[in-house]
Subunit: 288 residues, 2 copies
């Protein structure tokens, strides 16, 4: 059974003639005859009674034609559905962001996007890196905005932004007036840091370790603003990515000069997967 055979049969049923059906289907009449014979042979039953003057559906034909029409309709529906999916500006995109980036970058990313694609359905998920990586893998999110380092061969990483780290010191700290400083100058200080699981905590510790500094941790929190408050209160010092600086009057922010003391923000997507128009638009938006 082939689609063109169904088209032929429907055309014959509608026009009541092989010749007119052939004309409508833009084929020669013998081609159409042959294909109908072939289909009848395939089905093991005649679909039409060929009379001299006209043609009539047999009982089997009357039973078959509605199916044929329905199949052809469904074929068109399938085609239309696919066309929809790839052209639709009302598509969905789900984006995951880690907590140490979300409040600083996402507002900027989403504002322009929502204006440009008002019919799009944008969903944002804020979770820590391992959760987001898993979400990428099981397709519950399409794009994740994360910080390096990331070692997952199944992810494709698109660098978005590299920023220096800053030391946060209480305003009366001896180094509070410096233009910049190196991590090793902070040896022996108490630190306030993000809780375990936040990748920025790992990044900070790694930077210190590289400078041969072992940070003593006096306080932990889940958000930068708490850390900054603690620094202002004299509990310890901290490290921040540039974007998290909030100019608390009790603190001074000093750029860390170590070459490795940077954070790189990337967009991560599952390697090899494809994206709908909306997802592509979001990805393009965050890269510029």
């Amino acid at each position: 059974m082939e689609f063109h055979q169904l088209r032929y049969v429907c055309a014959i049923a509608e026009t009541g003639s092989f010749s007119r059906a052939a004309e409508r289907c833009q084929v020669a009449q013998p081609s159409l005859s042959q294909q109908v014979l072939k289909l009848e042979d395939d089905l093991g039953a005649k679909l039409f009674d060929r009379l001299g003057r006209s043609v009539r559906l047999t009982e089997a034909g009357r039973a078959f034609v509605p199916h044929a029409r329905s199949i052809l309709n469904q074929m068109e529906a399938a085609r239309a559905t696919v066309a929809d999916k790839s052209a639709d500006v009302r598509g969905s995109v789900a984006v995951g962001v880690i907590p140490t980036i979300a409040p600083f970058l996402m507002p900027r990313y989403t504002a322009g996007f929502a204006k440009r694609y008002p019919e799009a359905n944008l969903r944002i998920v804020e979770e820590m890196t391992p959760v987001l990586v898993e979400s990428l893998r099981n397709l519950s999110i399409d794009i994740a905005v994360l910080a390096l380092p990331l070692r997952h061969k199944d992810l494709e990483l698109i660098p978005l932004h590299t920023e220096p780290l800053f030391a946060v010191l209480p305003k009366d700290h001896p180094r509070a007036g410096a233009k910049s400083l190196s991590l090793k100058e902070l040896r022996g200080e108490s630190f306030v840091m993000l809780r375990d699981g936040h990748c920025f905590r790992d990044l900070s510790i790694a930077a210190c370790t590289h400078a041969h500094v072992t940070p003593r941790i006096a306080f932990e929190s889940g958000q930068f603003s708490s850390l900054i408050g603690m620094v202002a209160a004299g509990v310890g010092i901290s490290l921040l990515p540039e974007m998290a600086i909030d100019r608390n009057p009790g603190c001074r922010y000093i750029r860390v000069s170590d070459a490795r003391a940077t954070r790189t923000v990337v967009a991560a997507v599952l390697r090899g997967r494809s994206f709908n128009r909306i997802q592509q638009a979001f990805l393009a938006g965050i890269q510029k």
Copy 2:
């Protein structure tokens, strides 16, 4: 779009691999690859993300596959429906009979049939010839049991039975003891006859006319039994087909010897049309 392409896509969606799908579909893997690429090109969208290890449906693919499955199912349904129609012993047959045959032949025809095909749906219509011919043409009946002559080129006639005519005389009629008689011996008699429209009336009159007898009609009725009653009461004489003889004690039945004084019963069907198994069985049943 082709059926085999849909089969391939479904197989890939189920097995998660082009190679395994090719195996299941009994084709070489490159053939399957080509057909999928062709379909994707046709649809204007990728259906699968080809990763190194495995294969995943794209958004478009997820939308497409259910349609594909449904189309394939419907194709099977169409095939099954047709197979059903041609093999079904629960089919329908509608038979038309004229009133001058119905009571005598139909019981015999239908008894064996109903026993042999208890699941069949047999419908019997009793009407005069022109109505039945029209019913054959508009397919509201499948088979008609009629009497000759019939001049309709669109009908195919199958002779079933040829019977002599009998004269019905009151038992005290001068010819009541004869073994046979010719129509011209009835010249001058009063006749009782079927009403206009019954073909047996036409046949009787035609037979008389051929014998140069012009029947004078003293009484008309719609059924043979009334005619026979009238003959017994001495109103006139009549003509009957053999099958209508009922041995009324007030009558004598004398065979008419004229060569043309016969009735031929035929099965009539629309020329060129096809029949389901049940219809064929009925036709076969009435011919033996």
